[in-house]
């Protein structure tokens, strides 16, 4: 399947491009315009401009999960890391958009650190809700990954003129709600963005999508509009999320939203699957849903160009 949609992605199209696991996303930033390229399998990122850089995104490794949907999540995470390392354009760093572990256990974080560490890359983490369910409400995650962060793990950094912001939306969740950023983090974000030039490219990453993908399953963030309002004046904003274990994307104004696949297991299609839980793939069907995707975000036109190609014609 190949899809190239100049007018943004219709929901149906994004759903058709949904595939399984064991992968990461490699991002290329050229002239402040991030482009995404699926790195599993064949085509290495070759769109990197002379002046740009690449970074990788992995998500939802769920170490500790061992059920029929994927009995060996360590192996699929290792495979994803190996792909990142083998990419022709070596990424400058990696981001992990949460659910590193399945149950916030020290052994699960230890294993993740070992496997992800084999990349020898700097890794910037944000937690998923599975990473903060230890008895001390996230202390295990924050002690390990939150050393240079503010509040409950949020932070910002710059790389070659691109401003990266890691947001945390998995603490203090409210009954009936979805993800939550909270007033303290929103105030920090306003302060962080204050005085920044509107032409500065911004990449925001967080675990739960910062737009409502599907409210019935809690696939959104209650107060994300307040964060997006703060980002409105910027010419190029890219929002990278995980949590939903499938690719979803849309463009709204100058903001491009994208969710990454999991390295552990796929989740069902909103409204179609009986629940948001892990989805069992038919035997041998895996490669027909593994694939190569590239997304080009063109600054100034509000359009995504998407091409998804499976490894094996199904």
């Amino acid at each position: 399947m190949a899809k190239d949609n100049e007018n943004g992605v219709d929901r149906r199209g994004a759903l058709e491009c949904m595939v399984w696991a064991g992968t990461g996303l490699l991002w290329t930033v050229a002239g402040g315009v991030p482009k995404v390229q699926q790195i599993l399998g064949t085509t290495p990122a070759n769109a990197q401009a002379a002046t740009g850089f690449t970074f990788a995104q992995i998500s939802d490794s769920h170490l500790g999960f061992a059920r029929p949907e994927n009995p060996d999540t360590n192996a699929t995470l290792q495979e994803a890391i190996d792909r990142v390392v083998a990419a022709k354009d070596k990424p400058a760093f990696m981001i992990h958009t949460g659910d590193i572990s399945h149950l916030s256990k020290p052994a699960q974080f230890d294993t993740a650190d070992k496997i992800i560490g084999s990349s020898k890359l700097d890794v910037h983490y944000v937690p998923g809700e599975h990473d903060v369910i230890d008895e001390d409400n996230g202390k295990a995650y924050l002690d390990r990954y939150g050393k240079n962060s503010k509040g409950k793990g949020w932070y910002a950094f710059d790389h070659q003129g691109v401003h990266f912001i890691g947001l945390v939306n998995v603490f203090d969740l409210k009954a009936g709600g979805m993800g939550n950023l909270g007033a303290e983090q929103l105030a920090w974000l306003a302060d962080d963005l204050k005085g920044k030039s509107a032409s500065a490219p911004i990449v925001v990453f967080a675990h739960i999508p910062l737009w409502t993908v599907y409210q019935d399953w809690g696939w959104g963030t209650d107060d994300s509009m307040q964060a997006l309002d703060l980002l409105k004046r910027f010419g190029s904003v890219t929002v990278l999320n995980g949590h939903i274990h499938q690719i979803f994307q849309k463009v709204e104004g100058n903001v491009a939203f994208h969710t990454a696949r999991s390295t552990a297991f796929p989740q069902g299609e909103p409204g179609k699957a009986p629940s948001a839980g892990p989805m069992l793939m038919p035997e041998g069907k895996l490669k027909t849903v593994l694939g190569v995707a590239s997304v080009t975000v063109k600054q100034g036109t509000h359009a995504l160009a998407i091409v998804d190609t499976p490894l094996l014609a199904g």
Binding site: H130, D216, G218, G277
Partner: protein, 115 residues
């Protein structure tokens, strides 16, 4: 020789005698244990009505972890329940207790404790 009627009467009388002899065993309706299943991201049933002193036991039969957090802070809170894990809580006092899943807060349930 006892008639059938008398035998039946005697059979009925014995427990009564025991009850009188050991009054503390005859305390009305022993506390019950009520089960709530967690499956497909839903509490089943989502509302249970119990008596003070009853226990609610949640069992996660879903293939993803869930947890239980009372809406009123501190009333009760479970550890994360992996597949097949259970959590029990004794509701000593009357009241209505709303709760949700700490990982998936759109999942909600209610325990009504009525004397």
């Amino acid at each position: 020789m006892l008639s059938a009627f008398q035998r039946a009467l005697a059979a009925r009388t014995i427990p009564l005698v025991f009850a009188l002899a050991f009054p503390c065993l005859a305390v009305p309706a022993a506390a019950e244990e009520i089960h709530v299943k967690i499956d497909n991201f839903v509490f089943v049933p989502d509302t249970v009505t119990i008596k003070p002193g009853d226990t609610v036991t949640w069992e996660n039969v879903d293939d993803i972890p869930h947890s239980l957090v009372s809406k009123t802070p501190g009333a009760f809170r479970s550890h994360p329940l992996d597949t097949n894990d259970t959590f029990s809580f004794v509701f000593a006092t009357a009241g209505a207790f709303d709760y949700f899943c700490g990982l998936h807060p759109h999942m909600q349930g209610k325990v009504i404790v009525a004397p």
